[in-house]
C-alpha cells in the first residue's frame, strides 16, 4: 500500500464520526511518525477543509509533528511536582548520555506526581527515577 492509499484508508475509517480530524491526525501520526504537508493535503481533501485549516490544527498540538524523528524518545516530566523531587538535577546527565542517538523530550506531568521523577517511553512508565535509573533508560532506549 502506498502512503497515499494508507492515508485515504485512515480518513475513510473515521468517516461519519463527529469531529473526525483529531482522531485522524492521531492515526496518521502513529502510522507515519508525522503529519507532513502531503498528508495534510490528503486529509484536507477527505474532510472538505482547506489545507490551511488542517495545518493550523496540526501545528497547534504538541503531539503532532511535521517531520518524523526516527530516534527513540524518552518523555521526561519536568513539571513542578517532579521538580520538587529533583528532576532538574538529572537533566544534564541524561541529555549528555542521550547525545544525538536518543531524544529526551520534556513533558509536563504524567500523573505520577507523588512518585517522581517520572518518565514515559510509549506506554511504558517509570517512576522514582534517580540518576542511575534514568541513565539506564537512556542507554537501553
Amino acid at each position: 500500500m502506498t502512503g497515499e492509499e494508507r492515508l485515504t484508508e485512515i480518513c475513510a475509517a473515521h468517516r461519519g464520526r463527529e469531529g473526525p480530524l483529531l482522531p485522524i491526525l492521531h492515526d496518521v501520526q502513529s502510522a507515519f511518525g508525522c503529519v507532513d504537508p502531503a498528508a495534510e493535503r490528503v486529509i484536507a481533501n477527505a474532510l472538505n477543509l482547506s489545507r490551511a485549516e488542517v495545518h493550523g490544527v496540526v501545528s497547534f498540538y504538541h503531539d503532532f509533528t511535521a517531520e518524523a524523528d526516527p530516534r527513540p524518545a524518552i518523555e521526561l516530566c519536568r513539571a513542578e511536582a517532579c521538580q520538587a523531587r529533583g528532576v532538574e538535577a538529572l537533566v544534564e546527565a541524561a541529555e549528555h548520555a542521550a547525545g544525538e542517538r536518543v531524544r529526551i523530550k520534556t513533558v509536563y506531568c504524567l500523573g505520577l506526581c507523588s512518585a517522581g521523577p517520572a518518565a514515559r517511553i510509549g506506554s511504558q512508565l517509570h517512576a522514582r527515577l534517580d540518576r542511575a535509573a534514568l541513565l539506564e533508560l537512556v542507554q537501553s532506549a
Binding site: 497547534f60 513539571a79 511536582a81 500523573g111 506526581c113 507523588s114 512508565l125
Partner: protein, 507 residues
Amino acid sequence: MTTVRISDDALALACGADVIAEAFVAAGCTVERVSSWGMHWLEPLVEIDGSGWGPTGVDDVAAILAKTSDLSIGTIADHPFIAAQQRLTFARAGKTRPLSLDDYAATGGWAGLKRARMLASPDLIAEVIQSGLRGRGGAGFPAGIKWQTVAAAPGTRKYIVCNADEGDSGTFADRMLMEGDPFHLIEGMAIAAHAVGAAQGYIYVRSEYPHAIAKLKAALVLAEALIAPFRCEVRVGAGAYVCGEETSLLNSLEGKRGEVRAKPPLPAHQGLFGQPTVINNVLTLAAVPHILLEGGAAHYDSHGILRSKGTMPIQLAGNIKHGGLFETAFGITLRELIYDIGGGTFSGRPVKAVQVGGPLGAYLHPDQFDIVFDYEAYSAADALIGHGGIVVFDDTADMGKLARFAMEFCAAESCGKCTPCRIGSTRGVELIDRIRGRAQTSADPVAALPQMHNAAKHLRTHDENLQLLEDLCETMQYGSLCALGGFTPYPVRSALKHWPEDFGASS
C-alpha cells in the same frame, strides 16, 4: 491457593507491579489485578487476605508468602492513611477489579443510575443541587445549576462532555478514577445524560494517559447495553494543557485548534457543535452516583463546611513522604495534610513552600498552613484549590526559578488568542531573568525609539524591574481571556511576596 491482589494502576506499573505479579504467579499464587488504594509510597502494594506489604521488590516475594517480611503494614483498611479518609468517590479504591462488572455491581454499582431513571429530570437535578456538589475541575461552579441550564436550554441534540484532560502538575485523581473505577464515571455520565436529555457523551482524555484510555474504552464496550440509549465515546487529547479549559476542549473535540472561546455564549447554551452541553470534570461526574442513592444528597451535603460541601479527593504530591490520594471532607488544614497525613517531606528537610491547585495556583508559605480546605478561604488568600493537587517543596527550592517556570509554562501552553498571555508570559520570563541576574541590561532598542513616549529612557533599577513585573502581572491577571494567562500571576506574585530573597532582593 493463595490469592494475591496487586494494583494495575499506572503508578503501580511505573513502580514495577507487573514484575511482582509475575513473581507471585511463578510462586503458584492466583493474582488479581485491582485498583490502587492510593498509598503511593507503598506501591507496589501486595495484599493477601486484607493484609498489606509494600513497597515490594521481587526479592520480597518469598518472605511475604512465608509471612516473615518486614514490609508488613498490617490490615490495609486500618492503616491510618486509609482510616482517616472519608471515601465516597473513591469508595472502591483498592477493593475491586476495574473492568469487572460483577465487582462493580456487587459494590453498589448502577444503583444511582437505576434510581435516577425513576426520577423526573427536575427532581433529579434538585437532588444534585441539594447535595451542594461543585465542579471539581477548578472553578467550583455548582454542578446542579449547570445541569439545570442545559436541561432548560432549547434543542433536541445535547451533549455530556467529561473533562479528563487533567493537566495540572500534582494531580492524578482523575487518572486513578478512570483506571481504577471506570464504570463509576460512566454511571455518572449516564445520570447526567438522563437529567438533561442528552444522547451522546464524550470523555476527552489527555494523551499522556494511555492506561486510562485503554481502561475506559474497554469499560464502555462492557457497559454499552447498561447505559443505552445513552452512547459514550473516548476522545484523546493531543498534548495541549490549555485544552483542559472547557471551551478550548470543545474546539478540540470539534477538530479545531484548541483556542479558548469568548463567553457568552456559555457551553450550557451553545457548547459542542453549537448545542447545549454539560461539561464537567471526572470527579464531579463521579460524585453523582453516590448523591443519587436514597438519602445520598443529604449525606453528601452533611460533609464539608460553609459553601464547600461534600468530599474532595486531595492529591498529595511532590516532596512528601506519604504521597497519594486522600479523600476527605472540606475543612481540613494544610498543616494536617502535609504533616499529620503526609509525614512531612520525603527528603527529610524542612518544608519551604506548597503549591496548591496546579501550575496556576499560588505558593503558600508555612505561615499560611492553618488555612482550611474551602473554596472561599483559598480565594480570600489569593490562592486556589483548583483540582486539589498539593505539591510540597523542601528548603532547597528556588522560588525565583519556580516563578520563572510559571511564566515559561504559560508561554509554552498559551493558546495565543490574547496578548497579555501570549506576549506577557514571554516578557515575564525575560524580566524575571533580568531581576534575578541583577545585571544592568542595555536599554531596549525599541524602548529607545523616539515614538516610545512612555518607555523609560534610562536603565531600570532592580526596584523598577520589580515594579514592572507587578504591572505585567496585573495586566495578565485582568486582561486575559481565560485563567491560563489570568492566574499565572498567582504563583509569580506569591513567590515574590513570601520569598523576595530568591529574586535577588537585598534582605
